[in-house]
């Protein structure tokens, strides 16, 4: 899941300052799960913005709310078509993907990000999320006992641990586990410690051509036999 955090209210207010009618657009998938832009957060942001307006005595903005199931699919975004005619700007509480997808679809309407997209991660417990994947495109989890050193080691090294490990914690923060100690312990449990003795060559750090695209469908030429 993509994890994000709502932007500070002040930043949001600065972004929306030039516009009057603003659609607060929530996302019903990842942003709802990570409590950054679901229906409840949209509604709370709406209240907060109204309060800020009341407090500062300016009544320039009017807000509307809407939640899409997912902001990253064109069919869902189609549902917005007749809701944005009258809108000066859309404040998307979707992740960075959602913001761009909305912007792509509505070329004449400014689309503003309401959240800072943070990472790909998982829920640790209620109200706590941890990063787990860097989307490096070259997964090595089979060799590292299902624990990703790219994400979870501060340095992202492939042949750890480094000298900065102390009592199982990382020198960067004593609250953070050393990923390589975790890997070692788990390999030990799995009786695969020999994997620690191997040398892993550096990853291919050559610039990955961006943006990446994944094509799953096969291009089949439409022929006469297709009926």
């Amino acid at each position: 899941m993509i994890v994000a955090e709502q932007k500070p209210l002040e930043e949001i207010r600065q972004m929306i300052a030039p516009y009057q009618k603003i659609l607060l657009l929530g996302c019903g998938t990842c942003m709802t799960v990570c409590d950054a832009g679901g229906e409840r957060e949209v509604s709370f942001l709406h209240s907060a913005l109204r309060l800020a307006q009341a407090k500062s005595g300016d009544a320039t903005h009017t807000f509307s709310e809407y939640i899409l199931k997912r902001q990253c699919d064109p069919e869902f975004i189609d549902l917005l078509a007749d809701r944005v005619n009258d809108v000066d700007a859309i404040l998307s509480l979707g992740c960075g993907i959602g913001v761009q997808a909305i912007a792509e679809r509505f070329s004449d309407i400014p689309v503003l990000p309401g959240v800072n997209t943070s990472f790909m991660g998982m829920t640790k417990e209620w109200g706590v999320w941890d990063e787990r994947c860097a989307a490096c495109g070259d997964c090595r989890l089979a060799e590292t006992a299902g624990i990703c050193p790219i994400t979870r080691c501060t340095k992202g090294i492939l042949n750890g641990p480094c000298a900065g490990t102390k009592n199982g914690k990382c020198e960067a923060s004593k609250d953070m586990d050393c990923a390589w100690v975790l890997i070692y312990k788990r390999l030990e449990r799995l009786q695969q410690l020999e994997k620690m003795r191997r040398y892993y060559p550096p990853r291919n750090f050559r610039a990955i051509p961006r943006p990446r695209r994944l094509v799953k469908k096969v291009n089949i030429a439409v022929g006469e036999s297709d009926g």
């Binding site: 500070p8 209210l9 002040e10 009618k21 929530g26 019903g28 998938t29 709802t32 799960v33 409590d35 679901g38 229906e39 409840r40 957060e41 949209v42 509604s43 709370f44 709406h46 209240s47 907060a48 109204r50 309060l51 800020a52 009341a54 407090k55 500062s56 009017t62 807000f63 509307s64 709310e65 809407y66 939640i67 199931k69 549902l79 007749d82 809701r83 005619n85 009258d86 809108v87 829920t123 417990e125 209620w126 109200g127």
Partner: protein, 707 residues
């Protein structure tokens, strides 16, 4: 099109989203067990909130004579109460009595206009007849009750002893009937139904009760000194004082036996013994009554039955035999079997046989009779074999409870109405389903045990001499504490549309009772039979996909806020402080209750049904309307639920962050958990109010400085 309402969201499934006005609650077990299907959960909840008048209204909607039931109902609801899976059932009948007495039922004036011309005759003035008369009269029929005895009330008058049902209660209800215009003819025994038809009655309701005692069928059971239970109670209740001698034996194990024994004691018998042929476990009498009888010094000999009586020297020589229990019989109770050679003799002055009763119908009624001399009726229409003649109450069921009789009278009224209006019988259209299933151990484990609070009763030494009522009424604080024990079965949370649910699993994580679960299709389920309607998951669902099943619960906080904020803005009093307070606590005994009573100017109290239901939106809203401060006050240790304070604090912190970002002091919102014992928390609250006053003053001075 410009939209501002948030509830428009997700229109692609709007057609499937239920309207907010729909009641999705299930019928709780207490209501299902009540013959009158009273809205017990609702009135208990209203009592817990201190809304006694409304509780009484709910009670009156379902029960024509709640004050009678408040004294003598056998409360099958309490037997069904699921609280007994945690500790003990909620004391529903005692709570009803509290609502009836404190809500002022006596002063309620009922009126009825005659809108129909068809006259209805009711034969018998017991609870079934009275209920039928009440409802028919309310529908606008001219109603006449015929009563053979000199006084109205049937078994309520001649069967139930005064220490259980004070006669002024019964008299009030009879007066109410007269007030409504019901004609009551006492000392009038109806011997022929044809005569009633000739008198112009278009429908007749036969509710003659079951007053004929069954005989024991043993040698000497007609000797002098043997009296049957019903006759004995009737004589006492009609003001006669039968002479009993010193030693009295009562035979039987039902409520009549207990009533007869306790009455005999009150008439001065020195030694009263009850003989029952089975064991205490099978005894049909109300356990509390058995308990009270034993407290008063009445002996109960179990597994004993008389087999022979002989009158000698104005004493009764009684031969008894001991019993043992065999296999269960048709009623499911174990059959008593005499133990050979265990006979023993006992000498008594009077024997009261209370082993059951049957209706005694004048033969000229020409009604079809079934098992145990009861009148045969169609169970749905209550019609007999004669056109226009209906029957109900004990005369149809055999001896039963007052609530069953009231229910049958109520049903008869609507069936007679159908008959007179030439309608097909209108069967109740209850669309809600009943709640079934037990609480799971993991849920029970998390429910706070709170002991059942019994209403005070007179000490045994004070009650055995006269007929004053034994059970007293709750005081305000005890009633509210008891009512809060209700588990609110069947009105919990539900996911109204699974499409809206993001399956974030927050509800699983926040539920204090471990109720929501993920099914094998990865769909979140909130089993209705487990949920206790605390509302925490509703407030924590990021998709707002969870709502409470009762429309009132869904709207309550927002509506109360709207109302109070509107008045507050109009009043222009400053500083303007909003207190969102637990309504249960407001009427409790703690600091919160004093807050309500001594509510200061400028403080607007929003009563909520548990602070755990207060969402962050609700907390922010008053500031938008210009409030200087907001406090949330829970009932603290008095709270019947778990974790409420934790969730309130979480949300308050979030609101504080937002306030700071808007440029308001975060300390303008604070939560308090007040309790009985904690003096400090109410001082803290006073300090908070003073502090908000100061903040208001400084901001005003700053403003003036600027201008």
């Amino acid at each position: 099109m410009y939209l501002s309402a948030s509830n428009d969201a997700y229109d692609y499934r709007a057609s499937k989203t239920p309207k907010s006005s729909l009641d999705h609650s299930l019928i709780p077990p207490c209501q299902a067990a009540c013959p009158l299907h009273m809205e017990i959960r609702e009135y208990v909840d209203l009592v817990a909130q201190g809304r006694i008048m409304e509780a009484l209204q709910v009670i009156r909607d379902g029960n024509p004579f709640p004050s009678i039931c408040a004294y003598i109902c056998t409360h099958p609801c309490e037997e069904a109460c699921r609280r007994s899976q945690v500790d003990k059932p909620v004391a529903i009948r005692a709570l009803k009595r509290f609502a009836v007495e404190f809500g002022g039922d006596r002063r309620i004036y009922t009126e009825a206009d005659t809108i129909h011309s068809d006259k209805v005759a009711i034969v018998g003035s017991g609870p079934a007849g009275m209920a039928c008369a009440y409802y028919l009269r309310k529908m606008g029929y001219p109603v006449t009750i015929f009563e053979a005895h000199s006084e109205v009330g049937g078994m309520l008058r001649v069967g139930i002893p005064q220490y259980r049902l004070p006669r002024e209660i019964l008299n009030t209800e009879v007066q109410r009937l007269t007030q409504m215009g019901v004609e009551i003819r006492t000392n009038t025994r109806v011997v022929s139904l044809d005569l009633l038809s000739d008198m112009g009655y278009k429908a007749i309701f036969i509710t003659i009760g079951a007053h004929q005692s069954l005989r024991m069928g043993i040698e000497g059971d007609d000797s002098p000194g043997v009296i049957d239970g019903a006759t004995f109670l009737r004589e006492v209740n009609l003001g006669l004082k039968p002479s009993l001698g010193k030693r009295v034996v009562v035979v039987g194990g039902g409520n009549v036996a207990i009533d007869a024994a306790r009455t005999a004691l009150r008439l001065g018998a020195q030694k009263v013994t009850i003989l029952y042929r089975r064991s205490r476990e099978e005894m049909p009498a109300d356990p509390a009554e058995i308990e009270q009888a034993m407290e008063e010094g009445i002996d109960i000999l179990f597994l004993v039955a008389p087999i022979k009586l002989k009158r000698r020297n104005s004493k009764l020589n009684m031969t008894c035999i001991k019993m043992e229990l065999g296999d269960p019989d048709a009623t499911g109770r174990r059959r008593p079997i005499p133990i050979k050679g265990s006979e023993f003799n006992k000498q008594v002055d009077v024997l009261i046989a209370a082993i059951g009763q049957a209706p005694q119908m004048p033969s000229d009624f020409r009604l079809r009779i079934g098992r145990g001399s009861t009148i045969q009726v169609d169970p749905v229409t209550l019609t007999t074999n004669r056109a226009g003649v209906f029957a109900g109450g004990d005369a149809v069921t055999g001896p039963a409870t007052v609530t069953q009789a009231l229910a049958s009278g109520k049903l008869a009224a609507s069936r007679i109405d159908d008959y007179l209006q030439h309608r097909y019988p209108q069967v109740d259209r209850e669309t809600r389903v009943g709640l079934t299933g037990d609480l799971l151990p993991k849920t029970i484990e998390m429910i706070k045990t709170i002991g059942r609070l019994e209403p005070p009763i007179l000490p045994p030494e004070a009650r055995a001499d006269d007929f004053t009522p034994v059970e007293l009424v709750y005081d305000w604080a005890t009633a509210i504490s008891e009512a809060r024990r209700c588990l609110r079965c069947g009105m919990g949370a539900e996911i109204t549309s699974q499409e809206k649910c993001a399956t974030c699993l927050n509800c699983l994580r926040v539920c204090p009772y471990h109720v929501p679960y993920l099914d094998t299709n990865c769909v979140v389920q909130i089993p209705v039979e487990q949920c206790l309607a605390c509302g925490i998951c509703v407030a924590e669902c990021p998709a707002k996909a969870i709502v409470l099943r009762k429309p009132y619960d869904r709207r309550q906080i927002a509506e109360e806020l709207d109302h109070a904020l509107k008045s507050a803005v109009e009043s222009k009093s400053r500083p303007f402080i909003v207190g969102i307070c637990c309504q249960y606590g407001l009427f409790g005994t703690g600091a919160l209750a004093s807050l309500w009573r001594e509510s200061k100017a400028g403080i607007w109290i929003i009563p909520v049904l548990c602070v755990a239901r207060v969402e962050t939106d609700h907390m922010l809203r008053p500031f938008e309307m210009g409030a200087d401060g907001v406090f949330i006050a829970g009932c603290g240790e008095q709270c019947a639920r778990e974790n409420t304070a934790l969730w309130v604090r979480q949300r308050v912190e979030k609101v504080r962050k937002t306030l700071a970002q808007v440029g308001l002091e975060p300390e303008r919102i604070q939560s308090f958990m007040l309790s009985d014992t904690d003096e400090d928390s109410s001082t803290d609250l006073d300090q908070f109010i003073a502090q908000i006053g100061m903040l208001y003053l400084t901001s005003t001075i700053k403003q003036e400085g600027k201008s």
